[in-house]
C-alpha cells in the first residue's frame, strides 16, 4: 500500500473542500425547492386541510389515498396523460428527427427554415393557447372556415367542444409547440457525429441515404432515447397549454392529472386531496420513467 505523501494529502483535502463549496449552493437549492416540497406534499396528503394557514388541519391517515385509488376521475385523467404521452412520442420525435435530418443535409442555406421552425417553441404556452383558441374557434375559426369553403354551405366544426376530438386537437397543438425542441435536439446530435465517419462512409462508397440510415441514425440512438424519456415525463406532468385552452373540458374530456390536481387544491379548497393527487402523479411518473429506462435504455458503447 502506497503511503500518501504530504502533498497528495493536501491535494485530496483541498479537492474535498472545493467540492463542498461548489456543491453547497446546488444542494441547498435542491433541498429547498425539490426535496422539501416533495416530502411536504406527502405529509399534506394525509391531512384534511383547505390550504389556509390558520384553518384546522385534521389528520385523516390514508383516507385521501384510498379515495384517490378509487377515484374514476383521476384514472380518467391518467388515461388522457397516457394517450398524450404515446401520441407525443409518436408524433413529436419522428417529426423532429425528420426536420433535423432535412436541415442537416441542407446545411447553411436552410438556416431560414431552422429559424422559422423553431419559432413555436419560443412562444409562451399562454400565447399558443390563445392563438389556437381563435384558430380552432367554432365561429370564425380557420377549421370552420375551410369546412364552409369546401362544403359550400355554412359548416361549423366544434373541435374543442366535443370529446374525444378536443383531446386530439390539443395533442396536435402540443406537438406543434414541442416538435421544434426535438428538432434542435437532433440537430445538436447530428453535429456531434464526427465528420471522419461521414468521410469514411463516402470513401466506402455509401450514398447520402445509406449514410443517414446506416450510420447517422444508429449513432443518434442514445439521443433518441433521452428525447423519448423527456417527452414521456413532460407529457405525464403536462399542464399549462391544456389549462389555457380547455381547463380540462369539455366535461373532463381533456382533464390531465395536473389540471385535476389544480382544481382540487385551488378551486375546491381541498389541499389534502390535491396533495394526494400530486403524490400519486409523482409515484406514477417515477415508476413509468424508471420502467422505460430499464426496458429501452441499455448502456451502449460505440
Amino acid at each position: 500500500m502506497a503511503k500518501k505523501t504530504g502533498m497528495a494529502k493536501r491535494d485530496a483535502r483541498s479537492t474535498a473542500i472545493a467540492a463542498t463549496i461548489f456543491l453547497f449552493p446546488a444542494v441547498v437549492l435542491l433541498i429547498v425547492y425539490m426535496v422539501y416540497p416533495i416530502i411536504d406534499t406527502f405529509l399534506i396528503s394525509r391531512l384534511k386541510w383547505n390550504g389556509f394557514y390558520t384553518a384546522e388541519k385534521i389528520n385523516v391517515g390514508w383516507e385521501n389515498w384510498t379515495t384517490l385509488i378509487n377515484d374514476p376521475l383521476f384514472w380518467n385523467a391518467f388515461l388522457h396523460n397516457v394517450i398524450l404521452m404515446v401520441c407525443s412520442i409518436l408524433i413529436q420525435i419522428p417529426l423532429g428527427m425528420a426536420l433535423a435530418t432535412f436541415l442537416d443535409a441542407g446545411g447553411k442555406k436552410f438556416n431560414i427554415f431552422k429559424i422559422i421552425w423553431f419559432l413555436p417553441y419560443l412562444m409562451s404556452s399562454v400565447a399558443v393557447g390563445f392563438l389556437f383558441y381563435y384558430l380552432l374557434a367554432t365561429n370564425g375559426g380557420l377549421i370552420s372556415g375551410f369546412a364552409t369553403l369546401l362544403s359550400g354551405k355554412r359548416t361549423m366544426v366544434d373541435l374543442m367542444g366535443s370529446s374525444p376530438q378536443a383531446l386530439y386537437a390539443v395533442i396536435g397543438v402540443i406537438a406543434w409547440q414541442y416538435t421544434p425542441f426535438y428538432m434542435v435536439y437532433f440537430i445538436a446530435g447530428y453535429s456531434n457525429i464526427d465528420t471522419s465517419l461521414y468521410e469514411a462512409a463516402v470513401i466506402d462508397g455509401a450514398n447520402r441515404r445509406q449514410y443517414i440510415f446506416k450510420v447517422a441514425i444508429p449513432l443518434l440512438g442514445p439521443i433518441f432515447k433521452t428525447a423519448c424519456t423527456m417527452s414521456l415525463i413532460g407529457s405525464l406532468k403536462y399542464f399549462d397549454l391544456i389549462w389555457n385552452m380547455t381547463q380540462g373540458g369539455p366535461s373532463g374530456g381533456t382533464e390531465l392529472m395536473a389540471t385535476y390536481m389544480y382544481k382540487m387544491s385551488f378551486q375546491k379548497f381541498n389541499m389534502g386531496y390535491g396533495s394526494a393527487i400530486a403524490g400519486g402523479m409523482f409515484i406514477l411518473i417515477t415508476v413509468i420513467a424508471l420502467l422505460f429506462q430499464k426496458v429501452f435504455v441499455v448502456k451502449e458503447d460505440y
Binding site: 382544481k263 385551488f266 381541498n270
Partner: protein, 447 residues
C-alpha cells in the same frame, strides 16, 4: 340639583355633538397617528375600475399621511388561487382583500382569515347599503365584508335590428312567448341565443332562472339545506327545457368551447348573428364600450320571461338572479400569525378606507358614470333605457338569488359548473345532473 345635572348633561351633549360635527358630521373611528402599512389585494388591473379604486386609496392616504396602503392588483382569472396561496403562508397575508361573497367568503371566515366587523358596522358610519347587500355581506349572523363593486342583475339583451328582421314586434314576457320568438329567429336564419359556455357560469344563468321562475326560491333553498333535492321538479324542468332548446338549435354552435372572457358571445350579438343573450348586467357598459353606436341604436333589454303555469300555481315571478354586492372587501387584521388577536387599529383603518373612501360620493359618481350601480340606497334611478330595465328588475325583486357558482360552497360550485357543461353538452340527463349536485352538497354539508 337635578335640574343642574340635566343642564350640564345637555351642555355636554351639545359639545359632543359639536365635536362630531367638526369632523364633517361623521361618526367614524379615530385612527392611529403611528406609521402603518395596509396590504390591499384587488383585481382592478385595468380600465376605469383601476383608476377609480386607486383614486380612492390615494385620497385615503392624503387624509391619513401616516398610513401607507400597498395596493396589489391581481389577475381576475387566477385571483382565487393566488389568494389561497397567500393565506396558506404564515406571513405576508393581505390585510384586506376582494371577494365575491357567498361560499368562498364563508370558507375564508371559517378558516380564520376574516375579521368579524359586526360591532364596527353597528357603531360607526357606513354608506346606507341596500338590505340585500348587507345580507350578502353576512354569514352566520355576522357582518364580514363591505360591498364596493355595485350590484349586478341578470337579464336578456337583444339586438333590435335582428328582432325586426325576424318579424318580432314585442319582447317576450312569458317562456312560451320566448320559445315562439326563438322559432322566429331560427326561421329567419339567426341564432336565437348567443352563449359562451366554456367557464359554465354562463350556462348556469339559464338553469338558475328556469328554476327560479318555476319554483321561486323554495326548491333551491330546500336542495341547499338538504330538505329537498336538485332532482326536484323545478330542476328537472330547467334541465329538460335547456336540453330541448339545445336540441332545437336555440344556441350558437360551439358554445361549450367559447369563452365570455374573450367576449365571443357579445360579438355574436353585436354582429347580428344572434338575437338574444342572457347575461350579467356588466354587459351594459361592456357593449357601450365596444360599440356605442350599436348600443344607442340597436340594443334592447328585457327581464327573463315569466313561467305562466307556475304563476297560476302561485309561485312568485319576481325572484331574480344576480349579486347585490358585486365585490366586497373582507379584512384580515391580526396581531399574531395564528389569528387569535385582532389588530384593532389596523382593522379600524381598513374599515374607514372601505366605507369612507371606497363608496364615497366621488367613488359612486365614477361608478355610475361607468354604467355601474352602487349597492347603496338612492341609486335606483337612471336615464339609460337598458340600465333602467336592469335596475327596475333588481329593485322590484322579492328576492335576489346570488349566482349559484358563488353562493354554493366551493366544492359544490365546481360540480355545479361541470354539470352545466354536461347538461348543455347533452352528455348527462337532468336527473344525473341533479344527483351529482345532491351528492356534492351532502358531502359539503357534512364538513
Amino acid at each position: 340639583m337635578k335640574k343642574l345635572v340635566a343642564v350640564i348633561l345637555a351642555v355636554l351633549m351639545v359639545f359632543t355633538a359639536a365635536s362630531v360635527l367638526a369632523e364633517g358630521g361623521k361618526n367614524i373611528p379615530e385612527l392611529t397617528k403611528e406609521p402603518m402599512t395596509i396590504l390591499l389585494w384587488d383585481i382592478a388591473t385595468e380600465g376605469l375600475g383601476k383608476k377609480v379604486q386607486e383614486d380612492a386609496v390615494n385620497r385615503f392616504m392624503e387624509a391619513y399621511p401616516n398610513i401607507k396602503v400597498e395596493q396589489v392588483h391581481q389577475q381576475n382569472d387566477t385571483y382565487k388561487s393566488q389568494l389561497q396561496i397567500a393565506l396558506s403562508a404564515k406571513e405576508g397575508q393581505p390585510d384586506m382583500y376582494i371577494h365575491w361573497g357567498g361560499g368562498p367568503m364563508a370558507e375564508y371566515y371559517k378558516s380564520g382569515c376574516v375579521n368579524d366587523i359586526t360591532e364596527l358596522f353597528n357603531t360607526y358610519d357606513h354608506p346606507d347599503f341596500i338590505d340585500a347587500a348587507v345580507a350578502q355581506s353576512s354569514y352566520d349572523g355576522k357582518i364580514l365584508s363591505i360591498p364596493f363593486g355595485g350590484l349586478s342583475g341578470c337579464d336578456i339583451f337583444y339586438n333590435k335590428d335582428v328582432f325586426a328582421a325576424a318579424g318580432i314586434e314585442a319582447v317576450p314576457t312569458t317562456i312560451a312567448e320566448l320559445e315562439e320568438c326563438c322559432e322566429k329567429l331560427k326561421a329567419a336564419g339567426y341564432y336565437p341565443f348567443s352563449l359562451a359556455n366554456l367557464p359554465r357560469w354562463t350556462g348556469s344563468m339559464y338553469y338558475m332562472y328556469l328554476v327560479a321562475r318555476h319554483s321561486g326560491n323554495a326548491e333551491f333553498d330546500a336542495a341547499y339545506d338538504g330538505t329537498g333535492s336538485f332532482t326536484s321538479p323545478a330542476f328537472i324542468y330547467a334541465g329538460e327545457k335547456i336540453q330541448e332548446w339545445v336540441n332545437k338549435g336555440y344556441f350558437n354552435e360551439g358554445f361549450n368551447s367559447m369563452a365570455p372572457d374573450n367576449n365571443d358571445d357579445r360579438a355574436l350579438l353585436i354582429q347580428g348573428a344572434a338575437g338574444m343573450m342572457l347575461h350579467g348586467s356588466w354587459q351594459v357598459s361592456g357593449i357601450k364600450n365596444d360599440d356605442e353606436e350599436f348600443y344607442n341604436e340597436s340594443l334592447g333589454t328585457f327581464r327573463f320571461p315569466i313561467d305562466e303555469e307556475a304563476q297560476a300555481a302561485g309561485v312568485p315571478q319576481n325572484v331574480e338572479i344576480g349579486t347585490a354586492i358585486g365585490n366586497g372587501f373582507s379584512f384580515n387584521c391580526w396581531l399574531d400569525p395564528e389569528h387569535t388577536q385582532v389588530d384593532e387599529e389596523k382593522l379600524k383603518a381598513c374599515y374607514v378606507l372601505a366605507t369612507q373612501f371606497y363608496n364615497d360620493d366621488i367613488y359612486n359618481a365614477a361608478q355610475v358614470e361607468g354604467g355601474g350601480t352602487p349597492s347603496i340606497k338612492g341609486f335606483d334611478k337612471t336615464d339609460d333605457p337598458n340600465l333602467k330595465v336592469v335596475i327596475d328588475t333588481f329593485f322590484n325583486a322579492s328576492n335576489v338569488q346570488l349566482w349559484y357558482d358563488q353562493y354554493l360552497p366551493a366544492s359544490v360550485t365546481e360540480v355545479h359548473k361541470d354539470m352545466m357543461g354536461e347538461l348543455f353538452g347533452l352528455t348527462k340527463t337532468p336527473e344525473e345532473v341533479g344527483q351529482a349536485q345532491d351528492e356534492a352538497m351532502a358531502k359539503a354539508r357534512e364538513e
